[in-house]
């Protein structure tokens, strides 16, 4: 019974914790411009994150070592350091976007300007990182994030022509008013949003935080293979909701309020309130995860003590990194930069940085020295290799597409 409860809780938090500001914004933008014609990218991206999260979780459970620990071991200090700088820059950008997302959610709920909320949100996030237990952060925000199911309810309430939605989803080409350039650009952005590198840093370090052993592999797999795809369904529901409400009237999403609009149309004020709660939980939870990921990657490269399983004084350098990153995130947002723009760039740069994270994981998951009998099987390697090719293509295409399409305009 206790075991069943643990598995259920893990799956539920995996669903609720799957969506972050990048998924919210990118899926809503894509739905409002391309309908469901890019839904296949979400499906491909979710399977990809499942494959690599399982691998990195398995490496963490078997070897007790998290991702960045192994990046340096496999790539050497020099290439490892270049990898660290690039990954950290992207994760910091994502962290900034998440703090901005929390502030925007609070602005929508209170009508108090987002810039006034930024310092409050930043301090609250830091306090959680400083004081709250790791498992509590995961459970509270994961469960609260389930509020985003309201998007699926909204889609159902809007009573769509399911045949038409399916027709859009099964014809992967841009609608009449868009071209292949912007279509490909948003395909890369959606892929980056689904496979954001911080997710595997966080997932593998979280496994070490919670002292996973090989007995926990089954629980970990159920979280990944049940929780993540269901979380991906929420992404699709967000895209479907803007497809139904905003695409027909030609409104393009460029604020968080517009992301929530279809829910308000379908379910009224109560629905809107639930959606805002979901936004808050998803962005706050992801802010904690990305903030920790910055600390994890830096500490693991240098071999510093890290993690929330020890007292802050015992991981002083790690906690200093968390503090400085939060200050940096707040400072960037206070320049009055638009958090939605920060989000859009963060998912594209995530796509650029993908191979840096995924290549070393694939290598280590094949190393019998670390993994013993738990090395990758044929299926994991087959999928891993296919995804490595996809990730390389997305990474190389991202910046040229951004320049050609003027960031999707």
């Amino acid at each position: 019974m206790k075991k069943l409860f643990a598995v259920a809780l893990g799956v539920l938090t995996a669903i609720g914790g799957f969506v972050d500001i990048g998924d919210l914004v990118t899926n809503a933008v894509v739905g409002s411009r391309f309908g469901m014609s890019l839904a296949w990218v979400v499906v491909v991206g979710v399977l990809g994150i499942c494959v690599f999260a399982e691998m990195s979780g398995r490496v963490a459970a078997v070897s007790g070592r998290a991702t960045f620990d192994l990046v340096r071991e496999r790539l050497g200090p020099r290439v490892g350091l270049a990898n660290l700088f690039a990954s950290m820059a992207v994760t910091l950008l994502t962290f900034t976007a998440e703090i901005g997302g929390v502030a925007l959610a609070l602005e929508l709920a209170t009508s108090v300007n987002e810039l006034l909320w930024v310092p409050v949100a930043g301090v609250a996030i830091w306090l959680v990182l400083w004081r709250v237990r790791f498992s509590e952060v995961e459970n509270i925000f994961g469960l609260m994030g389930l509020a985003l199911i309201v998007f699926a309810v909204a889609v159902w309430q809007l009573g769509p022509d399911w045949g038409d939605l399916w027709a859009q989803a099964s014809s992967p080409k841009p609608p009449a008013e868009e071209n292949w350039g912007t279509y490909s650009y948003y395909a890369v952005a959606l892929f980056g949003a689904a496979m954001t590198p911080y997710e595997v840093f966080f997932f593998s370090s979280g496994g070490v935080e919670e002292h996973w052993k090989t007995d926990d592999l089954a629980t970990m797999r159920s979280n990944v293979f049940v929780g993540f795809p269901l979380g991906g369904m929420l992404s699709l529901a967000i895209a479907a909701s803007t497809t139904l409400v905003l695409l027909p009237v030609g409104v393009q999403v460029d604020t968080l309020g517009q992301v929530a609009l279809p829910v308000a149309v379908a379910l009224g004020k109560i629905g809107l309130a639930v959606a805002l709660l979901g936004f808050f939980a998803a962005t706050f939870g992801a802010a904690c995860e990305t903030g920790l990921s910055v600390g994890y990657s830096l500490a693991q490269y240098f071999g510093w003590q890290w993690g929330k399983f020890v007292r802050p004084r015992q991981a002083a350098r790690f906690h200093l990194v968390l503090l400085l990153s939060t200050i940096l995130g707040i400072a960037v947002l206070l320049t009055t930069v638009d958090p939605i723009k920060v989000t859009e760039y963060s998912v594209v740069f995530s796509a650029v940085a993908l191979p840096l994270t995924y290549f070393p994981i694939l290598v280590v998951a094949n190393d019998p020295d670390y993994m013993g009998e738990h090395v990758n099987g044929r299926l994991a390697n087959g999928l891993g290799t296919v995804y490595l090719v996809l990730v390389l293509v997305a990474s190389m295409a991202a910046i040229p597409l951004m320049l050609v399409t003027k960031a999707g305009q």
């Binding site: 007790g64 071991e73 050497g76 004081r131 071999g303 399983f309 004084r313 002083a316 350098r317």
Partner: protein
Amino acid sequence: MDGTVAGRRYDAALNLLDRQIIDPDGGLVANVDDLELTERDDGRLVVTALLVGPGVLGPRLGGRLGHWTVAVWRRLCAEENPKPGRIDAADISRIDSGVHLAARPDDRGVDGLERWVDEHLIGRIPGATHEPE
């Protein structure tokens, strides 16, 4: 450069370099940034210590960045000719995915920055000593 610890042979570059060093309580100490090799009478090289810190990581990074790393480290150290953190190879108890030590290292060069940050910054924030679980 093969050596024997606890009856098993290890490749120094593959099994030691860049690995996590772990103290007897499971605490994370540092990464192995370099190795101290000593020539034995028969001409073979043996690993006599694990070296840690920017002073030895810098040269392995190479180029201008490596040069600067060492220069900054030298300038920040109090001594005239600072030495990198050193952990004697005799203290290694076990090598698996990490390098496990039999005793907690007491060399200030190993965790000087951690102690400084703890004493001057993190340790002063309320709640810094609260139990994690």
